[in-house]
Subunit: 344 residues, 2 copies
């Protein structure tokens, strides 16, 4: 049973005190049979907690600076209309007594905590985002990672690997974005796909789950590992690339969808950069003279990681040139950057 | 000074009790000099609050069902690293003592409450969404509405009317979406724009602010109210449409960006539907025989409002046909629906 957590905040132009606010609100809590405990805050304003029936719990803070915050928690099965009325009453009362001192009233949609279907998947740049997911389709741990598929009303089934939004069933925005406007007709391409950094093998279980639940995105491609114009190799990409180089196997396009590029120069990320550079170097080697390397990078706000990625390009055994493009993948909820590299 | 509000939740496969959890966590709070108050919950599990220095405040709930929730509030100027460590310690300890019973651990980005720049703008379908806004550009009340412009790192300046995300400076996605793939070259069009429902006059102040701060989106169009191929009329659209009908003035396109369509059949919405139908009826009247009426509707998840809108189309004085399209406007953070109507 989930916990609904409401917040109602008043940002003010001047600080207010206990006496001019709290006494006027107590009757509202008392009407809902919520009993007050006043806490000693060591000069940080008023902090009262209120316990009611059925697990209801509220926190009222009149901060010593220009802010009043209210938290209200209740269980999902509670009478939500009654809780809305309680918040309405608190908002109306505070609007009246703080009249002329209010610079912003913010009452956000309730945060739903511990629900069956988890709707909160922060963006890559660390923002809190609620999705419209309404059903858990499956949730499994493979040898390499946690694999979830959640159904979203507007995006269809969404594949989530290790907590990262990966692919939605509903549209081809991501595919279009990584294809970067190139025309693949009659061309030979090689795609590095769904390999988590720490593993040496591609995750067969992701293929199985995508085959079953992501059919709008995958079509019947995954039903057979080989078709008229494609072949899927379940393996670590590194030995495969090595073999291609040894055998002189080349491609018009190499697409890399391995992972978002690492975000820092911290020592713990060193191996990630090394892996990335190694794969990039080998990929450029298997490109035909007019070939292109297309890759997903990171969200547009991580400008530092783009700078570091471009720095890595200077360390390859063959000089490369590049373009980068901003792309919209609707279910990412943030703008993304795609690169296109070629031999100079 | 903003309040940072952290949450850390453990969803479990079995309920746990006070004795098997709380005693193991107390030392972590005590190390941070946070003192405990235990609250009587009438059989709804353990609820402890903890008050620390500098306004720090925590709530630990071991619910009587399969859920443990932790809230931690601190001021923005606090030692955030120390708070992260406190949450790390609580998470690690709980992971250990709840081992084998955990179905999900959720630690969300902090909710920042009362900040100078408000980053939380819920979607039309009521979801909590944090934007990447970093600067308040301007905030004014016109005679009709509150007009805000906030700067977003990835979308540029964003115009917010009455709390609704309206237009971003950075791209032409919205314009493309409402233009619905039509080619406007050499055509005559009439656009109903930025008029809040309850007002009779267009809001001149929105024009002034857009002219100044939304130049990437508006170009120099708003610098002059009339140009070679456009004319801006500051007026309620109803008398203007009436005059067009009287004078037999017709257009190839009418674009309506007045407002999202009403979302319910509640009596209070009646006048909104009436206004919408009236404007739609007059707009169809000023269309040339091959003319098209293009309009923004509502988010894709509000299917009921689309149904009601299509019902309204049957009540017009001239029969119409329509198509609808799903559109991605990146900064809306939800899919949108655009309609195209024409005379049958």
């Amino acid at each position: 049973m989930a916990l609904r957590h409401y917040t109602l905040d008043f940002k003010l132009s001047v600080a207010v005190d206990f006496a001019s606010t709290v006494p006027y609100l107590l009757s509202i809590f008392h009407e809902e049979e919520m009993t007050e405990t006043v806490h000693e805050t060591n000069g940080q304003g008023y902090l009262g907690t209120f316990i009611g029936q059925n697990g209801r719990f509220a926190v009222l803070r009149v901060h010593s600076h220009e802010l009043v915050t209210i938290d209200l928690q209740c269980y999902e099965e509670d009478n939500i209309g009654q809780l809305d009325n309680l918040l309405d009453a608190l908002e109306t009362k505070l609007k009246g007594i703080l009249n002329g001192k209010i610079t912003r009233i913010k009452r956000l949609p309730a945060l739903v905590r511990g629900a069956e279907v988890d709707r909160y998947w922060p963006t890559n740049d660390g923002r809190l985002v609620e999705y419209d997911m309404d059903r858990l389709v499956c949730d499994e741990d493979s040898a390499y990672q946690n694999i979830k598929i959640l159904h979203s009303k507007q995006y269809g089934n969404i594949l989530i690997l290790k907590g990262d939004i990966n692919l939605a069933d509903s549209d081809v925005a991501y595919n279009k974005a990584i294809m970067n406007g190139e025309n693949f007709a009659g061309k030979e391409s090689f795609t590095l796909l769904i390999i988590p950094l720490q593993s040496v093998n591609i995750d067969q279980q992701v293929i199985e789950m995508s085959k079953k639940y992501m059919r709008r995105a995958c079509g019947n491609i995954l039903d057979n590992m080989e078709g008229d114009c494609y072949k899927i190799i379940v393996s670590d990409c590194v030995p495969v690339l090595k073999k291609f180089i040894e055998e002189g196997n080349t491609f018009d396009y190499v697409l890399n969808e391995l992972t978002a590029i690492p975000m820092s120069t911290e020592p713990k990320e060193d191996s990630a950069w090394e892996f990335l550079r190694n794969v990039l170097d080998m990929s450029i080697k298997v490109l035909r003279p007019s070939g292109k390397y297309l890759t997903t990078a990171d969200c547009v706000n991580h400008t530092e990681s783009h700078r570091l990625y471009e720095e890595e390009m200077g360390k390859l055994s063959c000089p490369v040139a590049f373009t980068k493009k901003e792309a919209t993948v609707p279910y990412f909820m943030e703008q993304w950057v795609m690169y296109c590299l070629w031999k100079k």
